[in-house]
């Protein structure tokens, strides 16, 4: 008889997977995932080279014009896949370079911690060389002397895979001195973190990389002017960098052609759906795919539940309603609806879910993960949690909802150093807008009730 304990352990072990079989994925339509194997095993260097690996690096180095790489990236308009949506090419064009400027750093943001987001893990664990290839191109374009992959500490499999892949690439001359005989030098190290969501914020990441507390830095100066150790530095998300090889190999027009008719954005996107759907998962699809299609691919709502609302791309994006399911999920369209595309992985909320409880969960997260630097975030978010707990337990006081409005407004854009507080405010503000009656039901009917001292600061 087999060992029941070992099989139990294996049966619930988590494995990152793409819900599209190899037969559906092609180089000209699935630039991010066509090389992935159905069994989820790692695509190591030999196989990667057989699947057109490092061709884009060879091409760019042969052409010998870093500015042309930036120009192609700008034209392709690859928008930041970490959630910001800022053009990577434009960011690169602002990096300080020149004879009087020291060579800086190319940093991959692999600190994936946005609630509801599980896309970079797939690329990191199963296809490390696509990221390395993108980083070499980024370093070449930005004249970076060294690269770091800032990886969250919990991604232990990714750390092991990346380190081995970097060694493979170095042994074959794709990293190190004189890459592929071009005279260009570049190498990469993996930096693993030790927790804290705020490390994914671009400038907090720089402080974390320098071995400091991960408080965000003021901008300007932007990292491209003065980043890690005061040198020009570029920080790009994993998926963003994985888009670069295809753009450089096939051109900006090809990239623009990957997306659908109804969107101004180019390329494909790793989309996903999680929450109470039948089949949560990840798919590489043209950018501008609708929420309805994602929900359909996920097999619809679990056990015939009804859809109440959804977060389009993580905890820091605004709630959308069922009526928004037909909208193309691109940066500008979702932005116009008072939300953000964010990371593009939808979190599905069923009809019976209390919005007050969900917001309490989200705000507990943001309160706990605040770095504590700015007052509206450090003090406002725990206060928000306390009010939500009271409302959740039917012990709210008249005025509490207006106070929530104010606390959220005080966390708005430009009132704090970084986007953590605005990210905390957005889902709450949309919940207060669309589901205000649920919050109103939490106001106590009994006169004189007070939640002073009776409410725990945090339940989790």
């Amino acid at each position: 008889m087999s060992q029941p304990i070992a099989s139990q352990r294996d049966s619930v072990r988590y494995r990152s997977r793409l819900l599209q079989p190899e037969a559906e994925r092609h180089p000209d339509t699935h630039p991010l995932t066509w090389r992935l194997r159905d069994d989820g095993s790692v695509v190591w260097l030999d196989e990667y080279l057989h699947k057109d690996g490092y061709k884009s690096v060879r091409k760019a180095l042969d052409e010998g014009d870093p500015q042309a790489v930036i120009a192609t990236m700008k034209e392709a308009n690859v928008r930041g896949r970490g959630g910001g949506g800022f053009s990577a090419g434009l960011k690169w064009s602002l990096t300080l370079q020149g004879d009087d400027m020291p060579r800086g750093y190319l940093i991959c943001n692999a600190d994936e911690m946005e609630p509801g987001t599980f896309k970079d893990r797939l690329l990191l664990e199963q296809q490390p060389h696509l990221l390395i290839e993108g980083m070499i191109l980024g370093a070449y374009a930005n004249n970076s002397r060294y690269g770091y992959i800032f990886l969250r500490g919990e991604y232990v499999t990714a750390a092991r895979v990346l380190k081995r892949a970097i060694d493979e690439a170095r042994e074959e001359g794709w990293l190190g001195a004189d890459i592929n005989g071009s005279g260009f030098d570049f190498d990469i190290a993996v930096h693993t973190g030790a927790g804290r969501y705020i490390c994914g914020e671009e400038t907090a990441l720089l402080n974390a990389l320098e071995g400091k507390r991960a408080n965000p830095r003021t901008k300007p100066p932007f990292p491209g002017q003065s980043g890690a150790w005061g040198k020009p530095s570029v920080v790009n998300n994993v998926e963003t960098l994985c888009n670069v090889p295809g753009v450089i190999l096939n051109g900006a027009d090809w990239y623009q052609g990957l997306s659908g008719e109804g969107t101004d954005d180019g390329g494909t996107k790793l989309y996903g759906a999680s929450g109470l759907v039948e089949n949560p998962g990840l798919w590489e699809l043209p950018i501008g795919t609708t929420g309805a299609e994602l929900l359909d691919r996920a097999g619809g709502m679990r056990d015939n539940r009804q859809l109440k609302a959804w977060l389009p791309g993580g905890a820091s994006t605004g709630l959308l309603l069922p009526e928004h399911l037909e909208l193309p999920l691109d940066f500008d369209t979702v932005g116009k609806e008072g939300s953000r595309l964010g990371t593009g992985l939808m979190t599905v909320v069923p009809q019976e879910q209390s919005m007050v409880a969900l917001m309490r969960n989200l705000e507990e997260f943001f309160a706990r993960e605040s770095c504590g630097w700015c007052t509206p975030c450090r003090d406002g978010l725990p206060w928000t949690v306390r009010l939500l707990l009271a409302l959740e337990h039917g012990e709210g006081q008249p005025g509490d909802i207006e106070l929530l409005d104010k606390l959220a407004a005080d966390c708005g854009p430009s009132l704090t150093f970084c986007a953590h507080a605005p990210g905390a405010a957005m889902p709450l503000q949309t919940a207060l807008k669309h589901f205000r009656h649920e919050f109103e039901q939490g106001i106590s009917k009994r006169r004189g009730d007070t939640h002073e001292g009776s409410i725990p600061v945090a339940s989790a």
Partner: protein, 171 residues
């Protein structure tokens, strides 16, 4: 003041912390990856934690000496990051994801089952020093929600019924 004890090749700081020679070497190897040695601070804390399970107060001075920075700076970093432990923990760390997708997908039941089974709540260690229970932000395993991590292993979806056999793997 520091002395090297010949038998063990440990360096003993004046406050009595023994930094293993191989741990110091590992720290120096990390320092070589960066423009300034301070950048290896998180790595150094993790190296000490790997050896001792946590980072005792006395280790702070030893790390500061290796990195060439002030102990206050090391302390500031050590207290900022959630996966650096400043008090003794159990032999195994259970990190329970409490972010939105897990919250929507059975986190409350899973957490309650863990609390019942282990007899401890967040931040606490079982009496036999076997498990420490902690919350963690989104594990990036939302297609396997609810998810948790035990040491370096990620599991999901995990139900309350899975727990007894799962925990058996971590003696």
């Amino acid at each position: 003041m520091m002395t090297t004890t010949p038998q063990t090749n440990h360096i003993i700081d004046s406050d009595g912390f023994e930094l293993h020679a191989e741990d110091e070497a590992a720290m120096r190897q990390e320092m070589a990856h960066y423009e300034q040695p301070q950048a290896a601070c998180i790595d150094a804390l993790k190296i000490v934690q790997r050896r001792h399970g946590w980072v005792p107060d006395k280790a702070i001075g030893a790390i500061a000496r290796v990195l060439g920075i002030g102990p206050g700076e090391v302390e500031g970093v050590a207290t900022f990051y959630s996966l650096i432990f400043r008090q003794p923990v159990g032999r195994h760390i259970v990190l329970v994801c409490d972010s939105s997708t897990c919250f929507l997908s059975g986190f409350n039941e899973l957490r309650q089952a863990l609390v019942n089974q282990l007899g401890v709540d967040y931040g606490q260690t079982t009496e036999d020093d076997r498990f420490t229970l902690l919350p963690v932000c989104c594990l990036g395993a939302c297609d396997g929600a609810p998810a948790l991590m035990i040491d370096d292993d990620t599991y999901g979806p995990v139900t309350a019924d899975d727990l007894p056999a799962l925990l058996e793997n971590y003696p």
